[in-house]
């Protein structure tokens, strides 16, 4: 913790939140929300939460703001501004917000001071993880070992939730050409930009290489399946923006994309069931030493974690690409932003 930076960043964050809410234009709102996410990333780095910061960096810069742009692109950016209307909702909202805020504010008096080393949250359970992770799994990055091993069951269902979200987007938006909504605007009227295309083409391989590094090196440095998957997805989103959908589909078809999403979740659950088959508990990786050559129980856990991270990365990548393509083309998968 660095409290000087903490105070400043938190102040900027609140300013950004107020501006996001009060701006009368959805596109501006999305842009300010992107800036808000930059500041959030700084805040988490400053509180030493490097993995959270990495996730926020990949998500905020690569995916979520672009999703907002795609949605605004397909709907409208105009806000109807009625100063007189919705008085009841405003009063209700203010009352609810003040009530909740007041209660939380009162409860805050009992909290331990920020960054107190002896706070209850830091004295139970977490010392166990910190002291045992090297002994149990030989993974120095405690976040990765807790994520993929100690709390592997939790993470499996988080991956499943992401997968279900992707399915929901497909089910809501995907439609064949004839039944789609009428094309309201002239979209993508032959616009080509050589500079952007060149740079996108040169940057995308570096992004993908870096994403693979992040997935593979997540045991020793911040990173892992979620971050790597989001960066992989972002590289494809960049290609879809700079070129068109046909270019992306020539690299990876729509069907293949959905298959990848399935495959990722399947890899995760499959490793769990493999442990079950070998006679241990679900997701108890140490039993895998029987089938992995030249490993002991500790290294088996480490290697199985890598497998799980790869599954997560594949699933997250496929879902990120799929959500963007569906939103940007309103489910017609022909042309987008």
């Amino acid at each position: 913790m660095i409290w000087q930076l903490d105070l400043l960043i938190l102040t900027l964050v609140v300013l950004c939140a107020v501006a996001t809410v009060s701006v009368k234009d959805l596109l501006s709102s999305a842009i300010i929300f992107g800036t808000y996410s930059f500041l959030m990333c700084l805040l988490w780095t400053e509180m030493a939460a490097v993995d959270v910061a990495f996730t926020e960096a990949a998500v905020g810069a690569g995916v979520s703001t672009v999703l907002f742009f795609a949605a605004v692109f397909r709907t409208t950016r105009l806000l109807k501004f009625r100063p007189a209307g919705r008085r009841l909702a405003k009063v209700l909202g203010l009352a609810a917000a003040l009530g909740l805020g007041g209660m939380l504010f009162v409860a805050e008096g009992d909290f331990p001071a920020w960054s107190d080393p002896n706070s209850p949250a830091s004295t139970h359970l977490s010392p166990y993880y910190l002291t045992q992770t090297l002994h149990d799994t030989a993974v120095p990055n405690v976040v990765t070992s807790v994520l993929a091993d100690y709390r592997g069951f939790d993470t499996m269902f988080e991956t499943a939730v992401i997968f279900v979200a992707g399915l929901a987007v497909v089910a809501l938006l995907r439609r064949r050409e004839e039944t789609g909504p009428p094309e309201l605007y002239q979209v993508g009227a032959g616009y080509e930009d050589t500079i952007i295309r060149f740079i996108a083409r040169k940057m995308a391989p570096f992004m993908q290489l870096f994403a693979l590094y992040v997935v593979a090196h997540g045991h020793h440095s911040p990173g892992g399946g979620f971050q790597g998957g989001v960066i992989l997805g972002a590289s494809f989103i960049l290609l879809a923006i700079a070129f068109d959908f046909r270019f992306v589909f020539s690299k990876m078809g729509e069907r293949a994309n959905i298959l990848f999403g399935n495959l990722g979740v399947l890899i995760y659950a499959g490793i769990g069931f493999l442990c079950l088959l070998l006679g241990a508990n679900f997701l108890d990786y140490s039993i895998l030493e029987k089938i992995l050559p030249a490993t002991d129980a500790v290294m088996a856990r480490s290697h199985a974690m890598l497998g799980v991270e790869i599954g997560v990365a594949i699933a997250v990548m496929a879902i990120c690409i799929s959500i963007y393509l569906h939103l940007a083309s309103h489910g017609r998968m022909d042309k987008g932003l």
């Binding site: 500079i195 952007i196 040169k202």
Partner: protein
């Protein structure tokens, strides 16, 4: 020696970011502000990153040298990506019909 170099580079970066900010706030129209932001942003970032990269060579172990190289890679990527972003924004502004600011026409155009 390394410390002096770091302090110098980082201070130079801070100063040029300061001038970028002044340009962003004070210049009259979108294209002028873009000029301040595009150049000053890249220059100040690269200066500061170089300063950090030099500072890491205090203890030239393999790990530190690799990190230093990574920081250089970051500055290369900023050098590639930031002008592209600037180009994209200016192009968008031009396409959507933002007129450049002209000093002579100021009185005529004022409603």
């Amino acid at each position: 020696m390394i410390d002096i170099l770091t302090v110098g580079l980082v201070s130079l970066g801070l100063f040029s970011f300061f001038s970028t900010t002044v340009g962003l706030l004070r210049l009259p129209d979108f294209y002028c502000r873009m000029h301040a932001a595009g150049k000053g942003d890249v220059f100040s970032s690269v200066c500061m990153l170089l300063g950090f990269a030099v500072y890491l060579l205090h203890h030239p172990t393999l790990e530190m040298v690799l990190t230093s190289l990574k920081i250089l890679a970051i500055s290369v990527f900023i050098f590639l990506a930031s002008p592209t972003a600037t180009h994209a924004i200016v192009d968008a502004g031009h396409a959507s019909g933002v007129m450049p600011w002209l000093k002579e026409k100021k009185e005529e155009e004022a409603p």
